[in-house]
Symmetry: C2
Subunit: 529 residues, 2 copies
Amino acid sequence: MATALTSHLSEESLALALDSFRSALGSEAVIAGEDELREFRDPFAFAASDDYTASAVLMPETVDEIQQIVRIANEHKVPLWTHATGMNNGYGGPAPRLKGSVIVSLRRMNRVLEIDEDSAFAVVEPGVRWFDLYDALRAGGHRLMVSVPDLGWGSVVGNALENGATYLPTGSDMAAACGMEVVLPSGEVLRTGMGAMPGNRAWHVYKRSLGPSLDTLFMQSNFGIVTKMGVWLMPYPECYMPLWLRVWNDDDLPALVETLRALMIERTIENVPQVWNTIASASVLSSRSAWYEGEEPIPDGRIDEMARELEVGRWMMRFALYGDEAVVDHRFRKVKEAFGRIPGAEVWGEKHSPDAFAELENPHERVQAGVPNLDINQMTGWYGGEEGGHIGFSPVARLTGPDAVALRDLIRGLVEQRARLDYAAVLIPTNARSFIHVTMVIFDTKNEAEVRRAYDTSRLLVSECAKHGYGEYRAHLDFMDLAAEQYSFGDRAYMRFVETIKDAVDPNGILSPGKQGIWPRSLREPAEA
Amino acid sequence: MATALTSHLSEESLALALDSFRSALGSEAVIAGEDELREFRDPFAFAASDDYTASAVLMPETVDEIQQIVRIANEHKVPLWTHATGMNNGYGGPAPRLKGSVIVSLRRMNRVLEIDEDSAFAVVEPGVRWFDLYDALRAGGHRLMVSVPDLGWGSVVGNALENGATYLPTGSDMAAACGMEVVLPSGEVLRTGMGAMPGNRAWHVYKRSLGPSLDTLFMQSNFGIVTKMGVWLMPYPECYMPLWLRVWNDDDLPALVETLRALMIERTIENVPQVWNTIASASVLSSRSAWYEGEEPIPDGRIDEMARELEVGRWMMRFALYGDEAVVDHRFRKVKEAFGRIPGAEVWGEKHSPDAFAELENPHERVQAGVPNLDINQMTGWYGGEEGGHIGFSPVARLTGPDAVALRDLIRGLVEQRARLDYAAVLIPTNARSFIHVTMVIFDTKNEAEVRRAYDTSRLLVSECAKHGYGEYRAHLDFMDLAAEQYSFGDRAYMRFVETIKDAVDPNGILSPGKQGIWPRSLREPAEA
């Protein structure tokens, strides 16, 4: 554990480095004022905390500027922390793991470099948000959709690099990214896959290399700064049918999951569904105070009432069908029949043609149509209104009924008993065989005791779930080390292998120290001793 | 280039190492006799060549034995060369890149460790052949299919590690592998992905890690010996419909390719098709001497006659539909209509239920039903009968009409004019956006001049195709260095990054020196100087 680590960088070295950064980028691209830096902190940390604060923020606009930043950082041994747009607030937002790091914010590298209508892909810089790519597709008159996540303010590249979920068929199994350009810790530029051959047109259409394929090595790691990435798009289908499944009993969950897996494995359902529990659904539609005044977690009886009044059931699944109308009709009948075997279950939805996508009223139905929005962000206000916060705790499991029930019971127990908070869950089967149990630990950022309970419980969730064989797919800044420690097979063989690569490719340890628990040698040894 | 490299190992060191290997494995697991070693050479090299000969072959049966092998190899600095079953003869078969290497043959590690009916995956050791996994599925009464390649004698793991194509929907985009166990050059055992957490049930169902994901780093590389791998399976569909498309003009190719891409991107065609030219089709069904006596390449007029007499057209595509009968029927109509816009094109096929898969007469239709066989291996005999050989030359391209035509013309020109051989091509779109142009350079292994022309031309193909931006997806032993050199962007940034990893994780350079052009430092420096 290295929670309180601070950069070894002296004030003098930092000052010298900042001078060099200003010379290289221009002074307006170097942010070092205390007030301005406040915006680059974990937005939901308790206000008095100064963990995860940066020394400065750099805003490069070109690959060449990033190369210069990396060279200066090597010279002065400055720890850098890269974010694309830094908007994933449930995992720490824009803030660095190591206090005193200099943030490299890629928000100004926001060009859509290419859209290929024939082969249905785009090439984007890391500052391109879902909103930007969507706008570029519409402005160019392309009949193409991008697989988007729930919130449109994030980065296409950043999401891919964190293994983030998106919800169209092209996002299934997180398979939309293809072909990267990366600035290495040495300042050199590497292109992955076919891109390593000058002039190769298959860079963004074929995922492997001659030799080992590196794209996933640059995901959730600190071996390079990704400056370009290909993303696969989906042509407009003849018909899009967003669907809803609702069940009324908490213990309908295993039957729902077993039925879903069969439909996904046979490719009847091809997109990435989401399964929401009542509290999660209610948090999008309302505030807690409308339902319950007690400080203890809302009891089951009241949750049942909420389920009925809001018509969201105890579990509600969003999913969608895409394709020729004849195929969509067949599949709808099949899906309805399969889930219909669960007593009280209902399946419904309406068909739409591409012209209607942007006008759909329900934000979930827009997300699954590739239309980015921010409506679902409302859920963070469950406890604290505009000052509400949340932590994402997200273990992976097999997509089976027993696994879903085991995780539900384990996590609900700890969230309710230890954090004394409501259990808000969204289950996301990113492929047909596994799902991510996104636990939204929602709290009021003004209530220090509640914030502390939320963080302490999230930490406990990491270790308790690991005891049962469930590990996080990504980790909040505060739990990166702890989450990584759980992957301990073979005396930490995985992490030691990763550390060996880190030391070899980044000998000065300048890139994102501590990212997903990967520390450079200089910061690792004290912890190991 | 390092074509003639030989291991630095002295005879004394080798003898000491072999003693240790015998102690560890038992003497029957160590093969060192000259006659027996002959079976582990490139089967199609000209008989007098002794490039790529091994000093010995080790046949471990357990992970523990592999760990011991690696430790002994480190002690004596023995270069090892791993193959799974070593049956991919078009790329060099079982032979090592570095003469004098000790082969680690994994043929005896042939256990199917697990078959999970619910989540539709298996876990296999590297010596498990497609035949073995198929047999295990049938013996267990599982209603599951495995996505197989054309020849059933190869290894499930070996194929995945080489980015080999397989042809069911689960094989699309080479996406069937999930979760590995690897013996590292240090002798330690690493598990990738969720497997790095003890007891994690999601190892073979979720493809990413917390932190960087390493599965593809162990593909086409020499960073570890894979000892277990998960492979995703496909439940039996209600209906399977293998289909054929035939066109009569060589220049129907671009229309075929453009139509195919649209149908694949919209997921109407979900499997991995193959597009065969006349010569390739004819080589499976007949010998060259039945058609042509001249020494020069068969001229177009005669190829047209072959196309008609054998009813294989100038291009013939095999592909298949899978799913509910209603969906298959809809898609068949759609496919027939789409390709029907090409004058003279025909599409046909018949529907089958799972009970009939093993009995299908046409081997291609069995392959696409997941039933492994060896019938297509016949094609190697085009020139030399039972002593025929072939080299695979396989560049990747975007799946577009212009790219298909450009590659066809470039490769046909060189094969006909330089090698004075017939142009046999099989185009394999491993995903909806790209294809691999598998060039079968077929020759008579008894004809030394013909063998030399075939090898020389294949070498020329590597560099000439690269000039046009087309790179190989895998390379024959003889062209590994040359093929890798073409990926030279950024002053070889990709290869230097890979070499940095190699030196860090395998400091003694014992694992598969030269694999895909990756040499350890000790063997690299002379070439660099």
